[in-house]
Amino acid sequence: MKVHVRWLLEELPELQRDGVLDADAAQRLRERYRPLLQAAGAGRLLFPLLGTVLIALGIVLLVAHNWDRFDRTLRLTLAFTPLLAGQLACAWTLWRARTSALWREASAAFTVLAFAAALALVGQIYHFPGDLDRYLLTCALVALPLACALDAVLAAALCAAALAGWSWAAPDTGPSGFVVAGLFVPLLALAWHRQRRAPSSLSTVALLGLLAPAFFFAILGSLPNVPRLGLWWLAEFGAILLLLPAPAAAAPWRDPLRSWGGGAVVVAALIGSFPDIWRGWSWYLRPDQLPLGWGLLVLGLALLAVLAWRTWRSGASTAPLWALPALLMALVAATDSRPFAVALALLLSAWVLLTGIALIRSGLRDHDAGRASRGLAMVALLVMLRFVDNEWSFTLRGIAFVLTGVVFVATHLWLRRQVHA
């Protein structure tokens, strides 16, 4: 792939000279394929980035260590020197090396970390109280325009992590889920833009792979402390990720949205397969939490409905079935589910079992060993959780685990043989 892209880019000037392509078309081709070429050299990006992070951390340690001997002015100067250097590097990158992913990523990440260090050091110099939530929010808000300006994945990931941390660190009257979601909008827009422009580039995959869990945890942290709502959010978020329109990827790790989404729905359904979950988790929201709780439920269901309908219209008739656990949890969220706790657990168990079997079948049919193995893993997990669920002795559970493991390994080998046959 890399060789072909390089060949195409080298051919463009000649094609343009010969009148095969006009200048605009050639430029569009460059913009489309150059990121692929840059993404192909993962090591070229990884090691300089790792080096940048280490340098930034080293500077933080060196400056923070034993610096009481300096007066306040010198300490402030030292605190802001890396930040100034990072800003100059960002400006230089924007004007002179904007097409270099290496420079964009390194300068933006360095500046984000340098700002975080400078802010922490100002707090240390003036003995500010420890407001971790404000600190993380400030770092995130300042990193946001930088990540967008330089189209920098690592800075965007740091920003997303800071937002998720802020959501969890905030006191119990913390941020609303809508505010958290609003702050994620620029990052999601950046990811969506990259997904459209270069869906298979490594940086896009990395951005999506980091952004999805960060967004999930940030919203989870802002939700009222009602476990049933959190479980529903897990199922809902997973289903949305799975149903989002995205081009098919060559491998699961190249398709982080579907991988995270599938995992989230299955984990939520497996947790819901315990009857005790539906016996004990009450739906209690304070009056000030009601708009957020119900708003998220209604908005989430509406979005799921639209995505499921689109997916069904596009021919993937079974894909909307991944939304069933979220739908079921939403329907019973605000009810007293104790009388039908066993029925709910059975329904979710049945969903996991049938989905697992369906995945095994389609994996066999399409000669996709990975898909078949994922289906097998779902069934095996469901079976193993039932060992936890009952009153068996440790010896019996141990034997059951061993037998299940043997069956799992044997079935897996049989499936691989079937797929390759």
Binding site: R98, F115, I125, H127, F128, P129, G130, D172
Partner: protein, 195 residues
């Protein structure tokens, strides 16, 4: 990728924020230290490790426990309040019953309610730590504990440590921590073993 002008504008915004936020904090801190009124808050330090800011002495203040006059309730956890500052006969700062609005005269602190019961309120004050050299912080802490054992019955439980705090327009910063009547900066100049 966005256009160069939009990218430049975003970068300018980021750079401006990166200077404006700490710049504001520094300016407010300097003004408070230079123009604020000095108060003495009695303390009880402990010594945790903050993963972001190195080693510091975490401070607990006697003034953070505010007795509530009878019938003056209605506070809730997490509520932001404004506590007027008074000075007692010993010269130590104490806080009056917190108000919903800043008082019109006198110095006050903006604080957060940590918990409340029938006759007492526990506040989180806007200063709770004093950063120290990481080698000296445990020694300072040990010295404090050694010289500040629990008092015998009937003895004055006065603690020989306090923080000098500067207050200006409700904003407060610790200027210096004193242990045994000596500033910590002076103690830290002594070799660690002699502390």
């Amino acid at each position: 990728m966005i256009g160069i002008r939009a990218a430049a504008a975003l970068l300018a915004l980021a750079v401006a924020l990166q200077w404006a936020v700490p710049g504001h904090l520094i300016r407010r801190g300097q003004q408070t230290l230079e123009q604020g009124t000095a108060y003495r808050f009695r303390t009880a330090p402990v010594d945790p490790v903050d993963p972001f800011r190195g080693r510091y002495v975490a401070l607990d203040f006697e003034a953070a426990r505010v007795p509530l006059p009878r019938g003056q309730g209605g506070y809730r956890r997490g509520q932001r309040v404004y506590a007027p500052i008074r000075v007692d006969d010993d010269g130590d700062a104490v806080l009056g019953a917190p108000l919903r609005q800043p008082p019109e005269s006198g110095d006050w602190l903006e604080a957060t309610v940590l918990w409340v019961n029938a006759d007492e309120l526990r506040l989180r004050l806007p200063f709770d730590r004093y950063y120290l050299d990481e080698h000296h912080a445990p020694e300072v802490e040990r010295r404090y504990r050694d010289t500040n054992r629990m008092p015998a019955d009937g003895e004055d439980p006065r603690r020989p440590a306090w923080a000098q705090v500067r207050v200006r327009n409700g904003y407060a910063l610790i200027e210096m921590l004193y242990i045994d009547g000596r500033p910590v900066s002076e103690l830290m100049r002594e070799p660690a073993a002699s502390l």
